[in-house]
Amino acid sequence: MMDEGSDPSVTIAQVVQRLKGTHLHSQLEKQAKECLHRPEIKLESLKDDVRRWLKASGWERKLQNAVYRELHILPPHGHPRAPPEHTKEPLAYMRKAQAGWEKRIMKSLNSMCTELGIPLSRKRPVPEQKELTKKWNEMGTDEPDLSKFRPVYAPKDFLEVLIGLRNPNNDRSEEVTVRSHWGLIQVSLNVCDVSQLRETYPELSFTYGQLGIDDHTHVPPVVSAQDSAAAQQYSRQGCPTGLRAQLWTLILNSYSDPEDLTHYEQLKARVIQHDLLVDNLIYKDVKLTASNDDYYFVFEDYLYQVLLCFSRDTSVLEHFNYDSATPPKSSIHSKSGSEQFSVVYPPNGVIPFHGFSMYVAPLCFLYNEPSKLYSVFKEMYIRYFFRLHSISSHPSGLVSLCLRFERLLQTHLPQLFYHLREIGAQPLRIAFKWIVRAFSGYLSTDQLLLLWDRILGYDSLEIVAVLAAAVFAFRAENLMEVTSLASAEAVLADLSTLKVMPLLQIFLFATAV
């Protein structure tokens, strides 16, 4: 129902405000000025002629793509009387849980800092800056002593927090009753069933050709039309390997303009200037995860170049407007020592956890220029990945994904779920790590990229939860035979041979409803 709150003019004003001052804005102005020399532009119909020319020369399409991108990251429309924290997360008990979790992380980081006697941040002395500039492209060859550092948290720690989430207005007894949910997540969020999923994901059905099953060699017209929205729709059936890089930059509207290149160089300069404790966490994470992975160890240097710059990027702070999380803060003194200023630490507000580098690793197969790799990763983070490590009621948020996975399993494979529950192998304990990483590092890369095509195509992470349930369905026979959590984990330890699209299709469209 259209009420006074959802007036499109407010959205339009917000988008215009955001686009003003961008490189695109100045380019459009320049183009409009230059086209005045053209013979087809007449003084009497100046406005219409300029508009027509901008449309014909493809600039209108670029503007459309930019607006489309802004709509993706605009905070949801709130009621005028709703306070800002309500826009970030409407449920009070989830806000409280998120705040409690953040406090725990901050305490952990502070104690690491005090124990090791290393400041959270310091300015690098000039010789060290020169050294780092020389070694920029081969930071992986460095073997710093990281034994004292430990990851701030691992996904399983976060799982315990989610399991403990309770709505005070809900009556949840521990016994298995008619009303109880068998899984670990005890929160009543709205999650779709298979019949609703069939309506949301019709392009995945058997009647549509899927890339990853039925491969063609033609170049889609979407690429030449340079249309973000059309590319997003196209991606629902998968992207051809050779065109995936182009299509993803089109969908995310993250081109390597000179503006982006300058931005990346600025971030690199900031990495050289200041050394952050968080950098050591990144090094440790890369060494522990990506460097040990058969597919990704070759990209170690790229990962440092992207993640270190990511930590210094203050434009990432914008996503906190629509994320339930709040960036950690600290205070520093001014040069004179008289004033105290509040600053965000790290500058992008994101404290990396164990496995964080796996969000970047698969992208290294698509982009080999660090600045391009960086802008694609950043856009994917502020649209999707941030939802995988915060407590929120959003349909693509981690809590919803876990609940969706459990509900799908309980509804369609009740025997399996009950059996696993009885042997102490709650399915979410096994699937959680897949969901948090959006399957990065668990599936083979070509299959992972086909999954991520659909995340982009449907602009949602829901498909990750559906795939997790589909994997359990696929290995159901073996799982019914196991008698312990360890053996259940062994059955599901190796997913590298799985083919994502057939699994999803069978689960969504061949399950009896």
């Binding site: 006074e4 709703a82 400041p119 207005n169 040069k335």
Partner: protein, 208 residues
């Protein structure tokens, strides 16, 4: 548009239950809240914060030509699309005059009927209720008498080497126009600095 809400008294919600409210084990699914207004109001908007109410019915008691009557303005307005799930449970809502089936004029009392059919929730309610009156468009603003008696000062000034006020004021006007243009074209792009005067020596994180 900052209209002040009207003052009203909100009574405690009364549960509608079949059977003994004390000994009955099942929780009520319907609550009724009455809001009495200090004087008859033409309602423009009722805004509130939801707390797990699924459906809302609004009835108003109108005073018309000496008699009072009850009228239903809104029947079973859905606040939570799925009564068993969290979506909409904590949201802020506004019910506008245009959405109501009967014109809420000369309203003395507003009765809100809250329904929550799901057994998931222990309690349900609505909070922060505010009722906003219609803004009269033909209000005349009285100009104070002393404003109309002001006349410009015509006496000539003794400049003493200072520049002519006319030229100064015209150049100031130009500067003002420039600042207005600058302000109007302000963009959302940030510079991106995270340090303070080049220093970013962070010791420990602080908890607020």
């Amino acid at each position: 548009m900052s209209v002040e809400p009207v003052s009203c008294t909100i009574k405690t919600p009364v549960a509608l239950q079949i059977g003994d409210t004390v000994s009955d084990l099942s929780r009520p699914g319907v609550y009724i809240t009455d809001i009495t207004l200090a004087e008859p109001v033409n309602i423009q908007e009722i805004s509130f914060k939801n707390y797990y109410t699924a459906y809302l019915t609004v009835r108003v008691q109108q005073r018309e030509d000496g008699s009072v009557k009850w009228v239903t303005c809104l029947r079973n307005h859905c606040l939570m699309a799925n009564p068993h799930a969290e979506a909409g449970s904590h949201d802020y809502f506004s019910i506008y005059r245009q959405q109501m089936s009967a014109k809420p004029d000369n309203v003395m009392t507003v009765r809100l009927i809250l329904r929550q059919p799901s057994s998931e929730w222990l309690n349900f309610n609505i909070e922060e209720i505010n009722i906003y009156p219609c803004v009269k468009e033909d209000t005349e603003w009285d100009v104070p008498a002393w404003l109309s008696t002001l006349t410009p000062v015509e006496t000539s000034l003794d400049l003493n080497g200072l520049p002519d006020p006319e030229t100064v004021s015209s150049s100031i006007q130009q500067m003002w126009a420039l600042t207005e243009i600058m302000q109007a074209s302000q963009n959302a792009a940030s510079i991106g600095r995270f340090d303070v005067d080049g220093s970013y020596d962070v010791k420990l994180l602080s908890f607020t």
